[in-house]
Structure formats: C-alpha cells, structure tokens
Amino acid sequence: MGKRVLLIEDEPNIIEAIRFILSRDGWVVETHADGATAAQAVRDKAPDLVVLDVMLPNRSGYDILTELRAEPELAALPVLMLTARGQKKDRELAERIGASRFMTKPFSNAEMLAAVRELLENV
C-alpha cells in the first residue's frame, strides 16, 4: 500500500532526515527541491500528503500553496508546512492560505511522524 508523501525541500541533509523518518514508518517519500516547478510536481505526482518548505529556491512555499489551494481538486490536499523562520506572522500567514499543519524547524522526529499520521488519518 504505502501512502505517498511529496517532500518539497532544498536542504539535502533535511531531505535525508525526513526521508529516513517517514520511510521507516512505511511511507513512500518522493522529493522535489525547486520552488518554481513544485506546483506542477504536486499535480503530476498526486501525493497523499505534501510536506512543503517555505524557503525554496526561486519560489516561496506560500506562493506554491496559494496556487495549489486555488485548484478545487487540490483544495483538500493535506499540506504540512515547514519553516525555519519561527515568527508568529509566518504561522498566521500559513494558516490563512490554507496550510493543514505548520511546523517550525527544528522539529522532533516524533512530532513530525505524529503530524503526518494525523493528517493522513483525516483524509
């Protein structure tokens, strides 16, 4: 079975860490590093869940999410947003544009795992 997670992130070490955590729990983890083509990647790969970093090369995670939420078929897609900018206004902005969950880096592995499980249960 294996639900599919699309990880949109540009830091190689972080990608490796998340991939390790989620794969071990049985997820199929696919990755994408470039902001500009990220939205298309979501459409193409049609994952069950998207983990989306805010600070991406060429396009911000907020823009990508806004674009995704504008499409009816993607409006309900669970999106977990990650940011290294831990300010309150970042969280508010993320929630306003429709992030399902918002997590600040660094996070604990257990926290990440729990969030992903919870999001998929709701699907």
């Binding site: 880096k105 660094p106 604990s108």
Partner: protein, 909 residues
C-alpha cells in the same frame, strides 16, 4: 613790552596744545581707556565754562562799576551746586535715564516728546546764546587789539572784525572736529570736555597770577589792598537787595538752563557721584576766581588813566607795567574763557538745532517725498550738526558786527541769562510737578520769551535801535501800562529786575494756567510720571555703566513696529513676568535688551537690530520718533516678509529632513526584521538536520555502520556550518560597529596571496581548480593588516572554487598598479553573476545559490566589503570579464614608507 609776535606764537602753541589734548582724550575714549576722562575733577573743571570771558574780564569791570554785586553771578551757581541733591541730581538722573541730549530735548521729551516745544526752546536758546557768543568774540578781539595797540607798526591784525572772524572760523573748525566726530552711544565729547578742563585750569591760574601780581607786586600786600579798597568808590557802594536777589536768581536759573551749562552739567556727566565732588569743588573754584576781582578793580581804577575800559583791567594792568609774560598769560586765560564757552555752546546749540529743527524738517520732506528712509540717518544728522555749528558761529559773528561791539560786556551777559532762564518754569515744573502739560509749557515759554524780548532784549540795543524811542517812553499806541521798562505801571525798577520779574512771573503763571486748563495726552502723563518719579524707577547710574537705559515703552513701541503688536507684546509680557512684574513693561536690564535685540535681529537682521537698540538704549541724537519712522519703512516690511519666506523654507527643509530620517528609520527597521528572520533561518536550518539525526542516533536502533558514519558526519558538518555562521556574524558585527582594530604592518602582496591560495584549497582539492598568477608582478610592498586582507582574498578564492561552474575551472589573479592604487583582480571562467544580481552581492545574506553545500551564510562578500572599507581600499564586481570577476583596490604605499619597508626587509634578512 611784549613782542606782538611772541603773543601770536604763544597763542598758536596754546591752540595746538588744546587740539592735541582733545585729540588724545578722544582717542583714549575710543580705545575704551577712560580713566581720568571720567574723573569728577574733569567734570568739575568742565563746569567752569560758566566762567566765560564775561567773568574773566567782565567781573572786574562789573566790580569797578557796581562794587560787590558781581559776586551774585557766582552765588547763583554756588547755591545750585550746594543744593545739588534736589535739582541737579534729578536732572542728571533724568538726563541719563531718558537719554537727554539737550535742554530742548529734555523739555520736549518731558511734555510728550513735543516737536513744537523742542523748536521753541531751541529758538530761545539760539536767540539767548547768540549775543553771548558775540560777546566772546568781542572779548577776544578786544583783548587782541589791546596787545596790537601796544605794538605800533604791527597793525595788520588790529582790525577787530578780522580778528573776530578768524576766531569764529577757528572755533568752528575745532568744534566740528571734536564735537561731531561721531554719534556713538551717547552725546559725550571726551576730547572737548578734556580741553575745556585744561582751559579751566589756565584761566584760573591766569586770573590768580594777575591777582597775586596786583596784591603783592603793585600793592604792598593784603593790608595795603584793604586800605586802597577803603579809599576807593567801591567802599561806598550800597547793596540793592532787589537787584541782588534778582541777580542771584538769574545766575542760578541760567546755570541750569544755559544750553552750554546743561551740556556739561547733564549731558556730559559720566557719573552721578561726580556731583558730590562738584558740589563743593565748583563753588570753591568760583570763589578763587572771584578772590582777586575787587583788588584788581580797585588798583586798576587807581592806576589806569580815566576812561580806560575796566573790563580790560586784567590785561591792561600787567601791560601798562610792562609785564609781558603775565599779560600773555592773562590773554590766554581770557582766550580760554571765551573759546571754551563758544565751543560748548556751539555743540549744545548745534545738537538742538539739528535734532529739533533740521531733522524733523528732513524727515518730513522725506515722508512727503514718498521715498523710503533707508539711507544713513546718522550721516544726515552729522551733516546737520556741522552745518548748525557753522551757522551758530556765523550768527554770533553777525551779531558781533551788528551790535558794533558794546563796551559793557556784563550787560550783554545778563540779557542773555534772562533770556535762557525763561526755560526754568517748564524745566522745574517738568521734573517736580506731574500736572505740567505741553500746552502749559508752551504758553509759559512763549509768554516769558515775548516779555523778555519786549522788556529787556530789544531795549538793550538802545532807544531807537529796534524799538522806537517813543515806544520806550510812552508805550505802544500810547498805552502807558505797556511801556517796555514799566509794565503794568511798575516803574522805577532796575530794567533787569523789572524784566526778570515780569517775564518770570508771567511765564510761570502762563505755565501753571495752561497746564491746569489743558488735558495731557497719555504720552505726556507717562513721561511726566517718569520724569517726576525718576528716582523710583531708575537705579543710580554710576560712571562706567555706559550702557544707557532706554524706556521699556520706547522699546515696546519699536518692537511692535518691527515684530507686530501681538508678538512684541507677548515677548515683553513674558520678560516682565520673568522679572516678577505685571503688565507689558519689563525693566530694561542688559539681559532684557540683549534678548530683545536677538528677537529683533530675527526680523530685521542683527546689524540693524543692534543699531536701532543701541541708538535707543544709548540715547543717541537720532530721536526715537525718527527711528520709529525708519522702522515703519516699507523696506522693513519687505525684510520681514523675506524673513518669513526664509522661515517657511527652513520649515519645509526641516520637514524634508524629518521625512528622510523617518524613511531611513523605517527602512532600517525593515532591514533589521529581515536580518533577524534571515539569521533565524540560517541557524534553524543546520539545527534541523542536527536534531533529526541526533534523535535517530539516540533511538539506539541498529543502524548499518555506513549509515551511522554518514549521519554522525552530517551532524558534524552542520555544527561546523553553524560555527562558521556565528563567526561570520561576529566578524561582521565588529566591522560594522567600527570596533575593529587594524594591525597594520609591512607586508608583501605576494606573501598575502600565497597564504590565501594555500588556505582556500584543502590539500585534496588543489587539483580541482587551476590558479593562474604572475608572482613577479605581485612583489609589491604594502602597509596594511595582512590577516584581514588575506581574509578577503580567501573569501574571493573560495567563492570562485564553490561557484565556478566551468568544467575546467580556472582562476586568474591579476595584479596591476595604476596611479596611487594597486588593483588585484580575481577572475574565474564560470558563467559569472547576472547583471541584476551584481548590485546585491555585497549585501548580507545575498547568497545567490541555494546550495547549502557552499557552506556560507551569504555574509562573506558583505564582510569583504567592510574590511576593504576599513583598510582604505575597496572591492567591486568587475563586469564583462567572461566569468565572475572581483576587483580589490588597495592604496599604494607612499614612497617614504617604501623606503622604510625596504630597510625593514633588509634588516630581517
């Protein structure tokens, strides 16, 4: 027999001495070295201009004709000075606090600054003084002709008219030179006053010398003199109480009202406390002056041939006994008496004429002409002054020619005294009675003047000269009670007593009546209160305090015209409140005047404000009204509006600056937020990896050894990245805050580059990039912080290594000298930096690539920029080189330092 030439020589020398004394005193005063110029002794001696030629020569004649009566001429002033506390002190205080320039000014000022009163008093003074000046001219020419008669064959100067003309011209020159040098600060003429003080000594010495000669040289000492007096007619002389009282009154009144006396007594007074000395010293001076009058008269009457003019005994007695030196001294004494009087009288009269007649007319003409009065008022005043002096002396000379040289000097003096005394009721009433009004003063002055002219002045020319003999005999139109010398049927009186009595009585009556029936204007009330109560609102003005005091009201009036009523009033009210006073009139303290000047300077410019205030505050001759007119000019309004314009410009400039500062602050705040956010990101990113992998390792689950090694390697790598970031941040912080201490020393560029290249390539990566250098060209000495410079080079080389995307990466390091600079270019063969990005690469966190592998936080070039700034060089992106290219500019070592470097290098070797 004294040679006539010797007399001429002595005279010339004496005149030269007077000129130089006046000149020196004036120069001292200008230099601010007042010293003895302000001594009470100089003041007292200057009062001696009361003793004119009339006193010097005429007193003896007076005594020969009327016995002791001549003493009355001295008693009046003596009484006034002894009673200085009541009248003179008040006059001096008012003169100082109100910046009075003349007696006409005082009366005009007291009665509401009336122009008409000023004109009346001025006319009175001119008419009263002109005969007196004529008298002095006459005395000099008379005494001169006495000498000339003694020297037959040398008659070329014996023409009395010519002598008088020469004297008049000479005096005019002296007076113009020292009396109108400037209008600075006040009306004091130190040069003139000092010269007349010297003359006072000369005339005293001369008269005493003649007296001593008469008593001990001709007679056999005091006992013999008393015996001779007893034998003479003078012993049988009877005292006439009415005439005595009149004469004492007259001389006292004249002492206060004569323009020249007012000038030295009040205007030239430099300190109220001088009055204390003068109150006894001046009477003493008069006493000494009068000591030998009777002996000289008696001996003269006995020894000189019958018909000899007793007015000239002082001169003719020594001459007849062939005492040439003594006679010359006597002549100089008489000359001194005459000239000092004329000089001061001319100054006083010219001040009055120019201030009360010429200036008002000039201002009026200007106003009617519609022209703006922005010209130099002072220049006009000075010109008016000089013309007035010449005019006054010309009048005196004219009178001398017309009167034909009456032989009795004393008679003219008394007529003069009676004339100027007409100002007394208005003067005394003005300073003691607040009820006195302008109408009253004018009525009194005109009445007194007319009565005086009718009863004394006109008849003094002799029956039929001006007034027909018939009128003198039976009155006008046959009205007996209007006979000039027997008004209202009062006949049998001495003409002088009669004239003084009627003129003063009618004058005073008219003054009081006029004051009672008229209603004073507000200004009159105010001035009246200020004059009468002068002691209550003015501090004693001691010598040295030459700031002068303006009335707050004058200042307010002027300030209102310049600043506008509302602003000026609130300014004055504030100042008054600060002094603990209610209302709008603060005390005119130095501080207040200074602050006012500053305020005014804001409207009319500092120079103008200062000039206006110093004129008001120091009582210069330009009257306040004149200044008001000047202040009213359109020019002022223009100035004011241009000031407003400047102010609004200044305001908008300030607003602009504020806006810019605000924008800057906002930008800074945004920048700070962005920076913090960026820092947060840069710190959290490595920490995320570290945390994730360390948790994985902590779980203790079995991991493959390769995995274990890899994950712990990542943790290690990320901690290094964090450390680098923190190092860079600290570096940048130090650089930006300017806390960096440079360790400058001599270094060779080639060495710095060698070490930079070495450090930039870890041992296993050297082959990955080709570095091209020309080490020979790099052999340049530097005086710099080589560690910091190396840091810059390492940064540039590392960037090239990390970001150069060529398959065969190459880096060229080129060094060239250009002028005073050294250029070090770092050029790689990659694809370079996009034009749009070239401008931002030196900003913080401007990392263009997203490769975390690059290992930097995007602070490197920002740090380089800061360092080069500190080292006195610069760093810039060099476009158009194919790949990424940076140019480092270094300041070249100065030739001197190169030599020092060479030596240092040699020593090291």
């Amino acid at each position: 027999m004294v040679a006539f030439n010797v007399l001429i020589l002595a005279l010339v020398l004496y005149v030269a001495l007077l000129f130089s004394v006046a000149f020196i005193a004036e120069r001292r005063a200008r230099a601010g070295r007042f010293g003895w110029l302000r001594s009470p002794w100089v003041y007292t001696l200057s009062l001696s201009i009361y003793c004119t030629a009339w006193t010097f020569y005429g007193a003896v004649g007076y005594a020969a004709r009327s016995g002791l009566e001549f003493v009355t001429i001295y008693l009046g002033p003596t009484l006034v000075m002894v009673g200085w506390w009541w009248v003179v002190r008040k006059l001096v205080r008012i003169g100082r606090s109100q910046r009075i320039t003349s007696i006409a000014d005082l009366i005009s000022s007291r009665y509401g600054k009336s122009t008409q009163l000023g004109v009346i008093v001025t006319l009175l003074a001119v008419i009263g003084t002109t005969p007196y000046i004529a008298l002095q001219l006459q005395s000099v020419s008379l005494s001169f002709s006495v000498f000339a008669r003694q020297a037959p064959g040398q008659l070329y100067l014996a023409d009395q008219n010519a002598t008088a003309l020469w004297v008049a011209v000479g005096l005019a020159v002296f007076t113009i030179l020292f009396g109108t040098r400037n209008l600075d600060a006040n009306e004091r003429h130190y040069g003139v006053v000092t010269a007349i003080a010297l003359e006072a000594v000369v005339k005293l010495v001369a008269l005493v010398a003649v007296g001593v000669f008469v008593v001990w040289g001709i007679a056999g000492g005091p006992a013999d003199i008393f015996a001779r007096i007893d034998q003479s007619d003078i012993a049988t002389w009877q005292m006439r109480p009415g005439r005595w009282a009149t004469m004492i009154f007259l001389s006292g009144a004249a002492f206060l009202t004569l323009p020249r006396m007012f000038q030295v007594l009040v205007v030239e007074n430099t300190g109220e406390e001088h009055l204390f000395t003068a109150s006894w010293a001046f009477p003493a001076y008069l006493m000494v002056m009068s000591l030998f009058v009777i002996p000289i008269a008696v001996v003269g009457l006995q020894m000189m041939p019958a018909g000899a003019n007793p007015d000239l005994f002082v001169l003719t007695l020594p001459l007849s006994l062939d005492r040439g030196v003594l006679a010359t001294l006597a002549f100089l004494g008489g000359f001194s008496s005459a000239t000092s009087m004329v000089v001061v009288a001319a100054i006083a009269l010219s001040t009055m004429v120019s201030n009360h007649i010429v200036m008002p007319i000039w201002l009026n003409m200007k106003r009617q002409g519609g022209a703006t009065m922005s010209g130099d008022v002072r220049h006009v005043v000075l010109t008016a002054r000089r013309a007035s002096i010449a005019g006054v002396l010309a009048l005196g000379y004219l009178y001398f020619r017309l009167s034909g040289g009456s032989e009795a000097l004393a008679a003219i003096g008394i007529v003069s005294f009676a004339g100027v005394s007409q100002a007394l009721p208005a003067l005394l009433g003005g300073i003691f009675w607040r009820g006195g009004t302008r109408v009253g003063a004018a009525a009194g002055l005109v009445t007194g003047f007319v009565v005086w002219a009718y009863t004394l002045f006109l008849p003094s020319f002799g029956a039929g000269a001006i007034l027909p003999a018939e009128l003198l005999q039976s009155g006008p139109w046959g009205l007996g009670w209007l006979r000039p010398q027997a008004l209202f049927g009062v006949s049998g009186l001495d003409p002088v007593v009669h004239a003084v009595f009627w003129s003063m009585v009618l004058n005073t009556l008219a003054y009081v009546a006029g004051s009672l029936i008229s209603f004073p204007q507000p200004v009159e009330r105010l001035q009246g209160a200020q004059f009468v109560n002068v002691f209550e609102h003015s501090a004693a003005l001691r010598s040295g305090a030459h700031s002068g005091v303006a009335t707050a009201e004058d200042l307010l009036v002027m300030a209102q015209r310049i600043m506008g009523a509302e602003q000026a009033q609130s300014l004055f009210q504030r100042a008054a409140a600060q002094q603990g006073k209610h209302g709008y009139l603060p005390d005119t303290t130095m501080e207040f005047v200074d602050s006012l000047e500053r305020e005014l300077a804001g409207s009319v410019g500092a120079a103008t404000a200062h000039a206006m205030l110093s004129q008001i505050a120091a009582g210069a001759s330009v009257s306040v009204e004149d200044l008001m007119a000047v202040a009213d000019e359109a020019a002022q309004i223009l100035e004011y509006s241009s000031q407003l314009e400047a102010k609004s410009e200044e305001l908008s400039r300030t607003a602009r600056q504020l806006r810019e500062a605000n924008e800057k602050l906002t930008a800074l705040s945004v920048q700070k937020d962005a920076f913090l956010s960026q820092i947060s990101h840069e710190l959290r990113t490595p920490m995320t990896s570290i945390r994730a992998f360390s948790e994985i390792l902590m779980e203790g689950r079995a991991l493959e050894p390769a995995q274990l090694q890899r994950y712990s390697g990542i943790i290690h790598e990320e901690t290094l990245r964090l450390t680098r970031l923190l190092d860079d941040l600290l570096d940048l912080s130090v650089l930006e805050n300017g806390q960096l201490t440079l360790q400058r020393q001599l270094a060779m560029l080639v060495d710095v580059l060698d070490r930079a290249v070495e450090t930039s390539f870890p041992a296993n990566e050297q082959q990955l990039m080709l570095v091209q250098r020309n080490r020979a060209r790099e052999a340049l000495p530097l005086f710099t912080d080589s560690d910091r410079l190396r840091q810059v080079f390492i940064n540039l080389i590392s960037n090239a290594r990390k970001y150069c995307d060529s398959d065969t990466p190459e880096l060229r390091i080129e060094v060239q000298r250009r002028g005073d600079d050294i250029f070090v270019d770092f050029i790689d063969n990659g694809s370079g930096i996009a034009t749009a990005s070239q401008t931002v690469i030196f900003e913080k966190f401007s990392r263009l690539s997203d490769q975390a592998a690059a290992g930097g936080a995007g602070l490197g070039l920002a740090i380089c920029h800061q360092i080069m700034d500190k080292l006195g060089g610069s760093i810039a992106y060099l476009p158009g080189q194919g790949g990424a290219a940076f140019r480092v500019r270094l300041p070249r070592l100065k030739q001197q330092a190169v030599n020092a470097a060479g030596m240092a290098v040699q020593q090291q070797k």
